[in-house]
Amino acid sequence: MNNLHTITFGKEPPFRHPSIADGKTFRKIVNHLSRQKVEMCWHCQCCGGGCPFSDHMDLLPNQVIRWVQMENSETVLRCKTIWICVGCHTCSDQCPNAIDIAAIMDALRQLAIRSGIAPAENDIYRFHQYIFESIHRHGRLNKLEALAQFKVRTGNLFSDLQAGIRMLLTGKLELLPQHVAKRQEVSRIFDHYHHRRGSFEAYE
């Protein structure tokens, strides 16, 4: 299945990777996946102060880091913040200790999906999924396809209809997807990471 994950949210008890459930190594896993050192954070809150989305987050970026430092995977993987973050790097740019906070958010998102925890922001999760699948299929992103899927899924068919029609008429959105010529090369890359979804240790 070309899915981000194969577990249906909410129906089965969340699968826990042993190294997450254990709790003690959570900090190290996050450090490893993001290539950062969360211990470096001294909570000056520059990241939270500068974040353009902080109004809509339930935890400020530095609070997320604090919970990671305290090995509390449950709070962190269930929070909205990791999904609201778009990776604009404003926080990473401002951090006096040069922690790439956006990379930590990437790692946490990956861990949340992998441990089957229902995302706190379902629409954003679905959006990622459709974009991801479109790239998997074509090697390049077909915006029309991904956006249509997203609109159908969220039942929000008529928002942006006017702009969408204008974009279609001016040739900004294309009806037919562009393909990579050697699609098997792209599939091979996707498959490689798909099969290794469950194991951190073998990751790299």
């Binding site: 996946l33 604009c88 790692a107 959006f127 990622h128 991801f132 790239i135 562009q178 990579v180 990471y193």
Partner: protein, 291 residues
Amino acid sequence: MNEKHLAYYPGCTLASTAREIDEALHRVCERLDIRLETLPDWNCCGSSSVHAVRPQLAVSLAGRNLIQAQSMAKDMMVMCAGCLNRLRSAHVRLLEDPVTRRVNATLLGDRLQQEIGIHHLLDILPQRMAEPAYRGVVCKSLEGLRYTAYYGCLLAAPPELKRYPRLHGTIESIMQRLGAIHCCWGYEAKCCGSFLSVARPDIVSPMVTDILQSARQAGAECIVTACAMCQLNLELRSTEKDRLPVFSIVELAAYGMGESDWPTWFRKHLVDPMPLFEKRVLRHRAAHHGP
């Protein structure tokens, strides 16, 4: 005149929703003797969604493009700020991290042997326009147009990419050659909302309105941006009645260099820039230089 040969990576946005920027970019490069050769079989760089949920996969996807550029033995040019970030960070990882190197060598069938220069257009354009051979390349002016430069967040790099020069100030230097008037403001590098514009428009609309209002307060009549996604978000999510037009820097540079296709590019904008362009640029030109 020294020709410059570069491998060009368009990216998904410039190949679809921002086709006009792609076209203008090719025209500008032609005028400056920069020969662009598109990568033979480029794929998505792994931007936004892929790297948001599978960072390592994004590195490999970007790596496939880098390997192609390597086999062309040319430096790369990228116009999309998102692609630039992804390609550069994959480049750093593929050269410096032994494990990523090993995993991707088998996955991509080749290793990255040496550093490849990955340039943004704004890396190249200002210096190129300053060379004596290209002094006369700007033949039409935008005199009287009041603008603010908007770089967006992605050109502000994460810590691992601090080794690359900052691009801030380059839009201003190009616009200065075109004769436009710069209005200072504090939102140059503010995030436009990125993909949340689709997933959560309720968050992005107030942000975009805030950006546009502050541009107005600074006295600008339009915003000039370097990022196609910023342009789209600023146009799409504005809730104001009288929306500020947003231009891409390459469109205006192409206009200044005497390209005549600009009306077809402007027609693709979601906010029609023609009334402003007519009022400030064309009328001004007619008054001073004749019809």
